[in-house]
Structures are given as C-alpha cells and as structure tokens.
C-alpha cells in the first residue's frame, strides 16, 4: 500500500499478493469487526461498500434467474446462502455505524475530521438526527428550565466545555490481531505521570500476534490496516 516511498520490499509484495487474493467479503468482515470493536467511528469504507453492493445486486439477479428457470434447487439455495451472508455483513456494518452516529452525533458534528469519516447518506442521517433530538429535547425539557440551563450541549452556561456531549472513550481496551508488522510504538507517548514503570513502554507486533491494547496509541496502526480488531 502507500506506506513506503520508493521500491517495493518483499514484504510489500506479499501484502499485494494477499490483497488481490482477499475477497471483498473478507475485507467487509474486517471492516465490520473493526467498526464493532473500535470505540469511535472509523472512516467509511466507501469503495468497499460500493463494490459489495454491486456484487450483492448481481447475485440477487442470479438467484432470481435460478428461481425462474427451475434450476437445480440445491444450487439455488447455496447461492442464496452466500447472498444472505454477504447481506448480513453489509447490513450489520452499516447498522453499527448508525448506532455510533446516534450516540456521538453532537461530538462528530463538532469536528470536521470526524464528519469526513461519514458517507453522504450517513451525514444526512446525522443531520436529521441532530435536528430531531435537538427539537425534542428543546420542547420537552430545555424550554422549561431556567435560562442558564437551556443549552443542548452544556450543563449550564458556566460550563466551559460542552459537558453534555457524549464522547468516544479512546482509552478503552480492544483486542487486536496484527496483519503487518507495526513500527515500535511508545505506548506512553502522551503520558505525563512521573514514576511510571518504563520497562516495556516500547512495543512491537509481528503478523499473527494477538494483543489486548489500549485503543488510543494504536489508532493509526488500525487506520493503516497494520492491525485489525477482533
């Protein structure tokens, strides 16, 4: 992938080999697992979802043809099963994202970086959600409170931050599998507390490794596909 400039190493060639031999279902499954396991919303897999939709549509037509032509019912049912599995993955992937959008909508809308992770449809959904929830809370609760407590995002006007906005908890722990060797990482890069035991603060994974890790320091590794969540 686009990780290194210049010539391709053998490891990258291997990557390429596995990449072209990996089916979209496999990629979709990975995206689904990552999305389910990650505490925040991940970038929308636009190209992958588009391809998956096309393949599903094509398969639906094939299955319909089978039904009409009175083809061997066994084969038709096998194709139907394959179709069902792909559809389940796609639906579940999209649903997990919608759940996250519902949960973190105000937070996502505060930052462009997060907003850009959504698809156009998801953005529309989020906008509608914010409008409706905002209106609902306004009408049922906020408008009946004293002036100082009417903000949708803040507990009261003396709050300095938007303290009524749920934020994704990036310090949750996730289980990850290593796909490609990661760079050695300094786990406490952002840590300030003195006296922390520094013995194993640098950490590296090789393909196949299975780890429980704190999500935050590994965000980039996940986005670049070096690790996947299970």
């Amino acid at each position: 992938m686009a990780s290194g400039a210049g010539e391709w190493s053998t490891a990258q060639m291997d990557d390429y080999e596995t990449l072209i031999s990996t089916t979209d279902v496999e990629l979709l499954k990975r995206a689904w697992r990552n999305e389910k396991a990650a505490p925040e919303i991940l970038p929308f897999e636009e190209a992958l979802v588009k391809r998956a939709k096309e393949q599903i549509q094509l398969m639906e037509e094939t299955v319909d043809e089978f039904a009409e032509s009175g083809h061997d019912p066994l084969i038709a049912s096998l194709y139907q099963m394959d179709l069902d599995r792909a559809q389940f993955l796609l639906r579940s992937y999209l649903r997990v994202r919608l759940q996250k959008i519902e949960k973190f909508m105000f937070y996502i809308w505060k930052s462009d970086a997060y907003r850009h992770r959504l698809s156009t449809e998801e953005e529309k959904f989020g906008e509608r959600c914010i409008r409706d929830i905002g209106k609902h809370l306004e009408e049922t609760v906020l408008s009946k409170l004293p002036d100082n407590y009417q903000s949708l995002l803040k507990q009261s006007i003396i709050s300095e931050e938007d303290d009524m906005v749920p934020e994704p908890q990036l310090d949750t722990f996730v289980v990850a599998k290593c796909q490609r060797a990661t760079r050695p990482l300094f786990l406490d890069g952002s840590r300030q507390s003195a006296g922390f035991d520094n013995r194993d603060d640098h950490f590296q994974m090789v393909p196949g490794d299975l780890c429980i890790l704190r999500y935050r320091p590994f965000q980039e590794e996940l986005m670049s596909g070096n690790i996947s969540l299970v």
């Binding site: 089916t23 998956a52 394959d82 579940s92 194993d200």
Partner: protein, 209 residues
Amino acid sequence: MAGQSDPHISLFSAEEVEFMAEDELIEIVPNMRMDPLNFICGDFGPFLPQIATPVPLWLAVALKKRGKCAIRPPLWMSVEKLTQVLEGERDSQGAFQALPFHYVEISRLLFDHARDDIPDMYMVRSLIEDIRDVRVHKVETSLEKFSGTSAVKIPNLSAMEVNIIRPFVGRALQAFYKHDNPEKIPDVDRASSGQTRVANNEPRRPLRR
C-alpha cells in the same frame, strides 16, 4: 435489531463468532457432480465424486446436511494431535498451545453436523473439552499477572476465549489505566451504564496502612 448483538452487553455474540468461523476453509469429499460455484465470497469447486476440494465451513455443513458430501476433519482434530496439545497445555503454565483461532467453533460445528466423519468422535470431543477447560482455567490464573499497561500480548488465544474474557479484561485494564492516569479519563467512564456517582462529593478519607 434482529441478528445483531447489543453492543452494550458483549461486543460479539456467540452466533457472530460462529459466523466468522464458518468462513474457515475445510476439505470435503463430494458424492455428486456439481459445477463450480462462483460466490461473492469466492469461487469453489468443481465438485466431482470422491475428489476432495476445499470449501468454507458453512458450505460444507450445508452440503453435509443434504447428504451430498463427507467432511474431512482438519488435521489437528485427531486423537493423537489433540492428546499432544492437551499434554502441552498441562505442562506449560503460562503459554497456550497453537490451535486454530476458531478451534472451538469449528469442532462444535463438526460435532453437530458431521459426527460420522470424525474418527473416534467421542474421544476427540472429550479431548477438546478438556483442552478448553485447561485453557480457560489458565486464562483465569494468568489474569492475575496483568498489571497497568497499555498492551498485553495473548498469543494463541482463540476467538471464543477472547470473546469470553474481553468484557472483564477490557474493563480491568481500563481501570488500571485510569488509576495510573487520573487526569486522563473523566470520572463518568460509563455514561451509558446509567449509574450516577453520588459518592463523589463525599470527603475523601486517607487510607490507613
């Protein structure tokens, strides 16, 4: 939300873990003739009588249910191999033996749907159950060694085992982390759990030694 686990209870339901395992490849020996299948998840076949061919587990089970094939149990599912694994599992306290990531689900599916294809099926089943027990016990004892760190390697742990320990270990490590870095995580760590923290305003008493 049919067909999808509630994310608040457990990340993946047992059915979802099984779903993932069903994509693992396994060899079948068909007893009929069938053209290659061009699935979304890949191309399989052609299917010829007595010629072994690899297919995903779900397809193997579907064909087996209709009496169209025999399933070849994977190499690790033999009495000999499993006895070795069990011994290794008992000998080494800390480490886990290498088994397929989905060994629990694969063996379970085969026991349910292809019992006549597994030689010494009862022996194999009890060996796998023993291995599972030993491993789960080992997971529990090795949890004692976890301390406040950001990453722990858990080599050879299987999908089902990961799924079982995830809620507990995840929260435990998070708690360790939180106590190491009180400034990092706001006190409302589970906004979704609906628990209010009334006790927070109480004056704190220093711990006596």
